[in-house]
């Protein structure tokens, strides 16, 4: 069915029928209106006929009555003989005597005229004073002219014609509604079908718009309106005869024009080109394109300029505006406009200033966060434009890049620690054997003195290697933050007391005097006790190893500005020809000979551990005096 309707011949037939139905509909409407005005729905058929031919009847009544009254012979009288007209009449005088007739006086009359007889210079004359369908009772001084029509209208005269027409109209007066509604329905149905199949072809889902649809719609629209206007103009200029002909000819082409336009609109809507394919749209689009190109060009130009030049241009524009405003102010005629302009300019500058200040603040915050090491901070560039946006994005990129770098560094440090841990484990297994067997050799003393000496060196160095390995693992963990610190409130005095207790004997054995000084009262610090012991162990171990025989080792604790301050002091037996910084650097030792036992990691580990526990670690060297100061914040 669908394909059937899409065929061209079917379309054409539909199109033709549609126009005809539109005309029928219009004609029906016009007819119904005319019928209503003419009284087809309120009066009887006879009355309608009488109304229609009223002029003729009145003429007939006048002629016959006046000739009868005056006795003059009107030439037309013969026209009203029964053979020549369908009109049947009878004229009665005052006393209801028949004066003139062309038929039997009996029968039903359908209309009456009443005349009064007056004397004039030319003798008596009759004047029609009244007419009507119903006979009046009081006919004093009045003559009555009654009429009716011959049954079947045997004579061909205007009465027969009008009777025929009125009869048709009367018969059609209700049918006209049915015809109008029916043709309207058919017209709408066909129009819908035509609009739906416009630009369609059988067996295809694609649109095939005709050539007409390529013409811009507004042109078509204007042409159609002009044609309608021209038609209306022609109609209004016609006389009634021409109008009848014109009304017969003009509506159909106009109907086809209308239907064609509707189909074109439907096709364009389907193509979504109703608005776009118009001259107005094309002109607007072109204009918009030009303007946007111009704008973009200007923006690109401005962007490509260095910031300084941009600022210069802005300032120059501002200056020019100022100049214009000043010039306008000088002129009385336009000073109000000048004030308005100045206010507008001030508002814009105010807004721009606030905008710039706001985003400067944002950027500053972002940069500050970066400077403070908060790499997770991202500057919100939402709402920023121009250089601000660029700057904000750069800041974000810096933070990203730095984050990545830091992450990479941490990763590599972790890998390093893992490597050191694994390698040290692998080294420890053979080292175990080395230590064990050098122990065995040392135990089996033989006579060869050199042999004993060598085995002792082996033993000592392998022990040294063992300590070195442990320290290596520890320092790498401490430096990469892979060491877990379990903070708990510790009694700083008890810590020092315990450490000094552990070392008292060893100091005495090394010929050193250990002097401990701890203040009264509890001093609490947040620290990991085991790590603290490791720090003290390293410091005291160094003191025992490197102090001058017979000297004193001072360890003390004191409260100072909310800090618990530990001090370790000893006198070196070797010359301290290094800086404190070099001392804590890995693998650097106080004595440059590197022959004695121990390694340079002790101080470095101590420093790392102290710093991991939020403390500070300082070393001072004053001549032979070695002094280490550790400070931790006191907690309540």
């Amino acid at each position: 069915m669908e394909n059937f309707v899409k065929r061209m011949p079917v379309k054409i037939i539909c199109f033709l029928l549609c126009g005809i139905f539109l005309c029928t509909t219009l004609a029906s409407i016009v007819g119904a209106v005319i019928f209503a005005f003419e009284g087809f729905y309120t009066e009887s058929e006879n009355q309608l006929l009488v109304d229609t031919v009223h002029g003729n009847l009145r003429t007939a009544a006048n002629i016959i009555t006046r000739s009868a009254v005056s006795g003059k012979d009107y030439n037309e009288e013969y026209e009203y003989s029964a053979e020549r007209t369908n009109l049947r009449y009878c004229l009665f005088d005052e006393s209801k005597n028949t004066v003139a007739t062309n038929c039997d006086a009996d029968g039903e009359w359908i209309y009456y005229y009443w005349f009064e007889i007056k004397e004039t210079e030319n003798g008596p004359d009759a004047i029609c004073v009244r007419s009507g369908e119903v006979p009046i009772k009081n006919t004093d001084g009045k003559w009555t002219f009654a009429i009716r029509f011959e049954e079947g209208f045997p004579v061909e005269d205007e009465y027969a014609l009008f009777s025929f027409l009125v009869d048709i109209g009367y018969t059609l007066r209700y049918w006209i509604y049915a015809i109008g509604i029916g043709s309207l329905v058919l017209f709408i149905a066909l129009l819908v079908v035509l609009m739906s199949v416009s630009a369609r072809r059988p067996n295809s889902h694609e649109l095939h718009p005709g050539y007409l649809n390529r013409v811009p719609f507004d042109i078509i629209f204007v042409v159609v309106i002009a044609l309608f206007g021209a038609a209306l103009g022609v109609l209004s200029e016609c006389n009634s005869y021409e109008l009848t002909i014109a009304l017969a000819i003009v509506p159909l082409p106009l109907a086809y024009l209308f239907i064609g336009t509707c189909m074109s609109i439907a096709a364009r809507i389907k193509q979504r080109s109703l608005l776009k394919n118009t001259v107005v749209w094309r002109v607007c689009a072109l204009l918009f394109k030009c303007l946007s190109r111009l704008w973009r060009g200007a923006v690109t130009l401005l962007r490509s300029l260095p910031t300084v030049w941009r600022t210069v241009i802005l300032l120059v524009v501002n200056f020019m505006l100022d100049f214009i405003i000043l010039a306008m102010m000088a002129d009385r005629a336009s000073d109000e406009l000048a004030v308005f302009l100045w206010l507008a300019k001030a508002t814009v500058i105010f807004g721009l200033g606030i905008y710039a200040g706001l985003f400067m603040r944002k950027l500053q915050k972002g940069a500050q966060a970066l400077a403070d090491g908060d790499l997770a901070y991202t500057t919100d560039t939402k709402g920023m434009y121009w250089d601000f946006k660029k700057h904000g994005e750069n800041l974000n990129r810096i933070s990203e890049g730095m984050s990545v770098a830091v992450e990479e560094r941490l990763q590599s440090e972790r890998m390093k620690t893992e490597l050191i841990t694994n390698v040290s484990h692998d080294i420890k297994t053979p080292l175990t054997s080395i230590i064990n067997y050098s122990n065995l050799i040392a135990d089996n003393k033989c006579d060869c003195e050199q042999h004993n000496e060598y085995s002792e060196v082996l033993l000592r160095k392998s022990e040294h290697l063992k300590r070195l390995l442990d320290d290596l693992v520890e320092i790498s963990k401490a430096n990469t933050g892979n060491l877990e610190i379990e903070f708990s409130p510790c009694d700083a005095g008890v810590l020092l007391e315990q450490a000094s207790g552990e070392y008292l004997q060893r100091c005495e054995a090394a010929g050193l005097e250990l002097i401990t000084s701890i203040p009264d009262g509890k001093i609490k610090i947040m620290a990991d006790g085991r790590r603290m012991w490791r720090v003290f162990d390293n410091l005291l171990n160094n003191a025992v190893k490197y102090s001058l025989f017979g000297s004193r080792v001072y360890i003390s604790l004191e409260k100072n500005n909310g800090m618990a301050r530990y001090t370790f002091k000893n006198t070196s037996k070797e010359l301290l020809n290094v800086t404190p910084k070099e001392l804590v650097e890995r693998f650097v030792r106080g004595d440059s000979s590197r022959s004695t036992e121990g390694n340079g990691l002790g101080l470095s580990i101590a420093q790392s551990l102290v710093e991991l526990q939020n403390g500070t670690f300082d070393i001072e060297i004053d001549g032979d005096l070695f002094k280490a100061t550790l400070a931790f914040p006191i907690v309540e």
């Binding site: 841990t421 442990d470 009694d491 004997q505 203040p519 012991w533």
Partner: protein
């Protein structure tokens, strides 16, 4: 005769251990991995197992779990110090002691001896009244004597009192001040490391390796505590 199984993938270490543990009282067996160790334990009755953690085929921890299903033979783990987590795991699944690599021959011998003594004799020993025992340490308050694995230990009266105080209150941490007050019945002078020095001495006497105490431990920044049998395993 006590049967001792030495289990390590390094033959040199086994040989060295064999020399250190050469004693007419010990009969030594060797295994190179966990599987061999389990097979040997099923064949022969062992009185002690020395086991390395890192071994091919079956590691020390898995072997431990396997052995503990039907046997309560003492097991000493030999491990590199860096593997702290492995060590704790081993102790938790039933090891009795541990030695860190590289080890001290004397320490190994002492720990072996201690474990064997406790395994073979302690259960049968009659508990005397007023005797406190922690692990291998026994304090007889009647005779005022202290023994470790049955060996008498010479302590000064002060050291004895301190040890008694801590042993009577296992697991309780005493600050140096508290210990001082309890023992000397008076307040200490400030900057007094007397208690710390005494503790150090006691430790040197009762611990096999004073640097790695098993019983008398320092809680740094707080004080000292005596830890009960196997309590130290949770570290």
């Amino acid at each position: 005769m006590y049967n001792i199984l030495i289990c390590d993938d390094d033959q040199d270490i086994i040989n060295a251990l064999k020399i250190f543990l050469s004693d007419p009282e010990y009969s030594l067996f060797e295994a190179n991995n966990g599987k061999q160790a389990i097979e040997l334990i099923e064949k022969e009755e062992m009185h002690l197992v020395l086991m390395d953690i890192m071994m091919p085929e079956m590691d020390g921890i898995s072997a431990m779990v396997h052995i503990r299903r039907k046997n309560n033979v003492p097991v000493i783990l030999i491990t590199a110090k860096s593997e702290a987590s492995d060590m704790i795991l081993g102790l938790n699944v039933g090891a009795d002691d541990y030695i860190t690599k590289p080890f001290n021959p004397i320490e190994v011998a002492a720990r072996v001896k201690s474990q064997i003594r406790r395994y073979t004799q302690l259960g049968a020993a009659q508990m005397k009244p007023k005797t406190i025992s922690v692990g291998g340490i026994e304090l007889d308050d009647n005779a005022k004597t202290v023994t470790r694995d049955g060996m008498p230990i010479q302590l000064t009266p002060t050291e004895y009192e301190i040890l008694k105080l801590l042993m009577q209150n296992l697991g309780r941490v005493y600050s140096p001040k508290e210990i001082y007050k309890e023992i000397w019945r008076e307040s200490p002078y400030s900057a007094d490391n007397t208690v710390a020095v005494h503790i150090r001495h006691i430790r040197e006497k009762i611990e096999i390796n004073p640097a790695e105490p098993r019983y008398l431990k320092a809680v740094w920044g707080h004080g000292y505590v005596m830890e009960g049998d196997k309590q130290w395993k949770t570290l």
